[in-house]
Amino acid sequence: MSEDLLLHMKDIVIDGFSDEQWHPIIKGVSLELKRGEVLGLIGESGAGKSTLGLAAMAFGRPGIRLTSGEIWFDGKDLMKISEAERQALRGSRIAYVAQSAAAAFNPAHRLLDQTIEASLAHGVRSAAEAAEDAKSLYAAMDLPDPKNIGFRYPHQVSGGQLQRAMTAMAMSARPDLIIFDEPTTALDVTTQVNVLAAMREAVDRFNTAAIYITHDLAVVAQMADRIKVLRYGEEVEEAETQEMLSNPKEAYTKSLWAVRSIQKPAETSDDYVLEIKNVTAAYGTVPVLHDVSISVPRGKTVAVVGESGSGKSTTARVVTGLLPPKEGAVLFNGTPLPPELKGRSKDQLQRIQMIYQMADTAMNPRHTVREIIGRPVEFYLGLKGRAVDARVSELLHLIELDDSFLDRYPGELSGGQKQRICIARALAAEPEVIICDEVTSALDQVVQEGILKLLMKLQKELGITYIFITHDIATVQAISDEIVVMWMGKVVEQGMKDEIMQPPYPEYTELLLSSVPTMDPGWLKGAVAARKELSIAEQTGEA
């Protein structure tokens, strides 16, 4: 074993318990990490990356068992030593940064007490020293008011700040290794940049080795020296970051880039099928939308992009009639739609359909595919019996599935198939406009690409108009004709894709676009420097 090898996991096999049986989750993966090196673990949901990450601490969640393999950490096999010895390593030599900081901090204790807890428990330093050190760590993590923020309780600081405090907490005992488990996944993109930068900086400064777990290739490109790709609990490939980005070998790895590779020339038209005119809306007394106007050209795709709380989903609710606006109107083919759902005619309802983010909850788990797609056929088109079946079968082929799916329940479909069924259900109504609310956000990359291509194909064949709500700039790039940028309930700008994506930008658009990580490993430094000049960055609350 070489001198500077810190962690060496050999042929790790991990089982998980479900359906009253043990199933393999990790099927013999090996991993090496040198001191001070950052390894990116990337893969899609169910790839087993978190399980593998925790195994580096010889820790298994309930219902998980480390079946076989060796975990050599600094000369000791963690599988062989006693639990007490493992306990002595956790928190002192190996630390963990969890995905949701809000849940991982104990609500009953101050940040500072939790930050220095591991240092005290392992006798790394005295309470007073640890507290002083924590303050300097807070400062290093770029937290506001580092001297006093530690006296706050977790619920008193924002999500991005908590995530940084958690990195400080992991650093407190100066571990040799930190496991970062999707630490920025729950954050908005404009918040993510600073957190990433702070974490990268901390790891560099103390020369800490790290395993960085994520599903986002662009993020891992910023953080890792080396990247390992996992799929279904097995290693796909591993390479230096530069090498992996420029020259991935396996087809699966290439497919992770898939969405970014879709290109569509933007087109527009003056024939507006839907116009949102000066809409102001509120939930109760809480205002959500302020004077929003959006025009949707027929047969084109308008992407509405913004972060959480920008009002993009609320806009969809106004269009569908679920939330009647306080002021303003929605025009459909030039005539105003009744604001309330109840006031709309069957014909008006039929013309505007909706597809949801979570296909799981968008389909009744107790209905078969036949019932799910058949209902709108029956309901809107008045078909009966055989005719319904024929139409359903036709729709299934349209979405690239076949009749074998007719009697399946949603629980028997994969994520991508579910979303396709939802698309078929929307198509069944023969609509003019389909509102797609984050329809690809919950899906894996390859599946996302398939869905986006399908949507584009359907648009070409059937001339359907899409209002595409998303927070993902890559998706916007891929499919939109026009883009609407929303921020804090207002429209920042609307225009052709090429116009919006080119400078000059309004300040928020610039902030948003500059926050989206790219595959360039040098991007992070530039982005952090660039946003220092943007006054608007202060307003996102995380600076």
């Binding site: 991982a104 609500p107 807890e117």
Partner: protein, 326 residues
Amino acid sequence: MHPILTTVLQRLALGVLTLFFVSVIIFSSIEFLPGDFTEAVLGQTATEETVAAFRRELGLDQPAYVRYFDWIGALAQGDLGTSFSGRASSGIDRSRPVIDLVGPRLENTLFLATMTAIIAVPLALTLGILAALYRGSIFDRGVNAVTLTTIAMPEFLVAYILILFLASLNPIFPSLANINADTPFWERVYKCALPAMTLTLVIVAHMMRMTRAAIINLLASPYIEMARLKGLSPRNVILTHALPNAWAPIANVVAFNLAYLVVGVVVVEVVFVYPGVGQLMVDAVTTRDIPVVQACALIFAATYIVLNLLADIISIVTNPRLLHPR
């Protein structure tokens, strides 16, 4: 104002409001009595004057809301009305004030309930926490099986089994808990042994299972996993990380079960012929002595409401989000 204070006050106000509505419901029950109930109380041969006098006494000649405020006003001064029993058709009235009937019995019931709570609460919490910590162990499974069976048993079955083995076959404890005001303290305890044991068995089963569930739920929190990943000792994880967040669920479990105790006490008092409010109420129901029934119902309901109120207030004041507002 501090948000804790506001929240507590809101909760208190809600409690008072609930009490008010409950008192209205209990009061208005008398409205549903059939019209001839005066004769049932006074006897078939009651003269018209007697009936009229009785109706006047009940205030039936006045509108309901006036009577409600009279009733609740008297209640506030400790006057629970006059019992229906002891009246004769001849007009002779030997009826007693309800407060005299209820007062001493309330003491007895409180004695029994307190005695049970002192044994049951610590026992159930300890067992529940142990079962949660060692879940899946033989201990956990054993306790689970026993409590599941106990829960399914009606209180009187538990009581009679205890009587059979601890009083009838082996005369260790008395099977009748006939105490009075002059019974010395330790004799009371001795005579209450079986009733208290019965109640304890029933309550502990419920409380232990709920405690176990609450603790397991708590231990599944991500911050507990984080504490483990910091390499803290299991003891430390429980004491510093689980316990401060456990007060609210535990308070709820305790309050819920003490409230349950209030109900269980009725059956147990009847089994052991224990002179408590429960037995008084059952007797009053049989003789349809409505003022006594109302008084007892009000006492039970108020206890129930106050216990739940206390649990809520404990949850509120131990909630860090309210303790340390933004």
